[in-house]
């Protein structure tokens, strides 16, 4: 009793409330989902997730993520450096613009992309189509939509770290003879790495999980069916509950594994360097 922090006793109702809330919103539904996915046995689960449509959907999702995550990481870090380190005309406008994709509904992003890039009756679509590029109703369109909706995550995770770290380490490296790229890779990037990794995790999660914007630009063909679209399709069109549950479990597991790996890496890093907050 004596070792308990002051107020610990008074904290338990709050703790119980938070846990109940989490259980009702996340724990129970997700747990029930996992339970249902395996209700007909592991064999049925395995057959559901290894059917060709499921595998190709998962593969498409992976390919989209492989493009979107690196691109948005590079763009996010670049934009973060610009916003945190430079003062220029239009800086606040740029800052706000980056948040638009997550401030508005994904369906709006999807429709806007459709309007701009659809092969018929859009601004750039017909021109692109003449050059053999199908910007919409294609994996390219899905990548575009995923990039748009996951645009600000790296930026928003990195800017506060950059501001906190400050510029003197870079200035010190400069006086020691380091050029701009060397300063970036040996000083700046290691200093912001946790911000970057956190942003990458969020970008990956959003890209794998995006439904609304992708739905609009996919045109609902089998070659443009991502994992989320396949799950929804199995549920709504094919009335195949087990497939949709199994697919959902696979998708959820990927995200959970990524989060757990990040947290393990981080706690190990904390033990090695006491300075990492």
């Amino acid at each position: 009793m004596t070792a308990a922090p002051i107020g610990a006793r008074r904290m338990w109702p709050l703790r119980a409330a938070v846990l109940t809330y989490l259980a009702l919103l996340v724990g129970l539904p997700v747990g029930y989902l996992f339970y249902n996915a395996f209700s007909s046995g592991f064999g049925a689960f395995w057959r559901a997730v290894t059917q060709p449509a499921a595998v190709s959907a998962l593969w498409l999702s992976a390919k989209i993520a492989l493009v979107v995550v690196p691109v948005n990481t590079v763009v996010g870090i670049g934009a973060a450096l610009l916003l945190a380190r430079r003062r220029f005309v239009g800086r606040r406008f740029l800052d706000l613009t980056f948040d638009v994709p997550i401030a508005v509904s994904p369906i709006i992003i999807g429709l806007a992309l459709l309007l701009a890039y659809a092969p018929l009756g859009s601004w750039f679509g017909p021109w692109l189509a003449r050059h053999g590029i199908m910007a919409i109703f294609s994996p390219t369109g899905i990548a575009l939509a995923s990039m748009a909706v996951s645009l600000p995550y790296v930026l928003r995770s990195v800017v506060p770290v950059l501001v906190e770290v400050g510029e003197t380490q870079e200035a010190a490296a400069r006086t020691l003879g380091a050029g701009a790229w060397r300063r970036f890779f040996t000083i700046t990037l290691p200093a912001i790495r946790w911000g970057v990794l956190y942003g990458v995790t969020l970008t990956l999660a959003r890209t794998l999980g995006e439904f609304g914007a992708v739905l609009v630009v996919s045109g609902n063909q089998s070659k443009t069916q991502t994992m989320t679209l396949w799950i929804a399709n199995e549920w709504e069109q094919n009335y195949n509950e087990l497939s949709s549950f199994a697919g959902a479990v696979v998708l959820a597991s990927i995200s959970i594994v990524v989060l757990v790996v990040l947290s393990i890496l981080r706690s190990r890093e904390k033990r090695l360097h006491v300075d990492i907050a």
């Binding site: 380490q169 200035a171 490296a173 006086t175 020691l176 003879g177 000083i187 200093a191 360097h273 300075d275």
Partner: protein, 346 residues
């Protein structure tokens, strides 16, 4: 390696800029840039280091014009006010950084790092991370990192600013010793005139971005070029329109000198501070040893005469500071450099 500045100007808003600075910083010496806050001391250091580009004027190091040379090619050692440790690197890696950038052979880097860590007495902490070091240790690591590249000049921005009094004193002595051992042209910025007088071979006093005076500590103390320099380099008071030092005031019999009344006597260890009021109401104070005070046999309310010691440094006072700024309520004179600086810049 000498540093010369020729009509260097850098303007920011109202403060922190430097205006038309022309000076020569001698090779091998330890020079302190001294001045009140906002006088442009750090800006001057950053101009030499290349971290700030001048609006006008030329800067050369060892005869080479470096005005347009990127700091990475100036070959200078710069120690930042907050030490700027590379937080994700060990002490040894921090020190090795500049050498790695220069693509020196691995064995040479290792040898140089060992040598530097011995020099700054951090050999035992080579494998630690900056977060595990104290302020004084970080400062020494920053010095080793800057010195490892064998810089032409060493620039230190407020090297003792963030340390507590005891560490400050130790490090001050140590930097002096280090400079005697390494003999690299060193420029340090400080707002503490005692620190500068103790450690530096040369002082460069800045006031509102302009050079107020350059010279050895003794030259500046004995022959201040202006009232500002006199007041900045230690306690001061005003008698007969002249800024003087309180220990240069002689208390004599009431028939000699300027008549005054003793208003307060404060004993501060071995020193006595005698507060006085002139007939026109101006307050001032004199400082003397206990023996001198006892020989005078004066007390509060006594009428005395005041005069300046022969040969004492004195400069015409622009405006006699009012009573409130020369003497605080407890009788202790308020003469910190910053206060003086601000009073004069108003």
């Amino acid at each position: 390696m000498s540093i010369s500045l020729d009509q260097v100007t850098k303007r920011f808003g109202v403060t922190f800029g430097v205006e038309d600075v022309t000076t020569e910083i001698p090779s091998g010496a330890l020079t302190a840039i001294l001045g009140p806050s906002g006088a442009g001391k750090s800006t001057l250091l950053r101009l030499i280091g290349g971290l700030v580009t001048p609006d006008a004027g030329r800067i050369s190091i060892d005869g080479e014009d470096v005005t347009d040379v990127d700091p990475r090619h100036r070959n200078i050692g710069f120690c930042f006010q907050n030490y700027a440790p590379f937080r994700h690197m060990t002490v040894a890696k921090n020190v090795a950084y500049g050498l790695k950038v220069r693509h020196r052979p691995r064995a040479e880097i290792a040898a140089r790092v060992t040598e530097m860590l011995e020099l700054v007495r951090l050999s035992d902490l080579a494998g630690r991370y900056p977060a595990q070091l104290s302020g004084g240790e970080l400062q020494r690591m920053a010095l080793a990192r800057a010195l490892a590249i064998e810089p032409r000049v060493l620039l230190l921005d407020e090297p003792f600013g963030a340390l507590d009094a005891q560490v400050r004193g130790e490090l001050r002595t140590w930097i002096k010793e280090l400079h005697d051992a390494v003999h690299v042209t060193t420029v340090l910025v400080t707002h503490d005139q005692n620190e500068a007088m103790e450690i530096a071979d040369n002082l460069l006093v800045l006031n509102e971005g302009r050079v107020a005076q350059v010279g050895t500590p003794t030259e500046l103390y004995d022959h201040p070029a202006s009232e500002f320099v006199l007041r900045f380099l230690g306690p001061s008071t005003t008698l007969d329109g002249q800024a003087v030092r309180p220990h240069d005031l002689e208390v004599v019999g009431p028939t000699e000198g300027t008549p005054a009344v003793v208003t307060e006597v404060a004993t501060l260890g071995f020193e006595i501070r005698v507060s006085l009021r002139l007939d026109d109401g101006q307050e001032l104070w004199a400082q003397m040893s206990r023996a001198q005070f006892q020989a005078l046999a004066i007390g509060v309310g006594d009428r005395v005469g005041l005069r300046r010691r022969p040969g004492a440094a004195a400069r015409p006072a622009q405006a006699a500071p009012d009573a409130a700024t020369t003497t605080s309520t407890d009788g202790a004179p308020v003469t910190t450099p910053d206060d003086q600086g601000r009073a004069l810049t108003r």
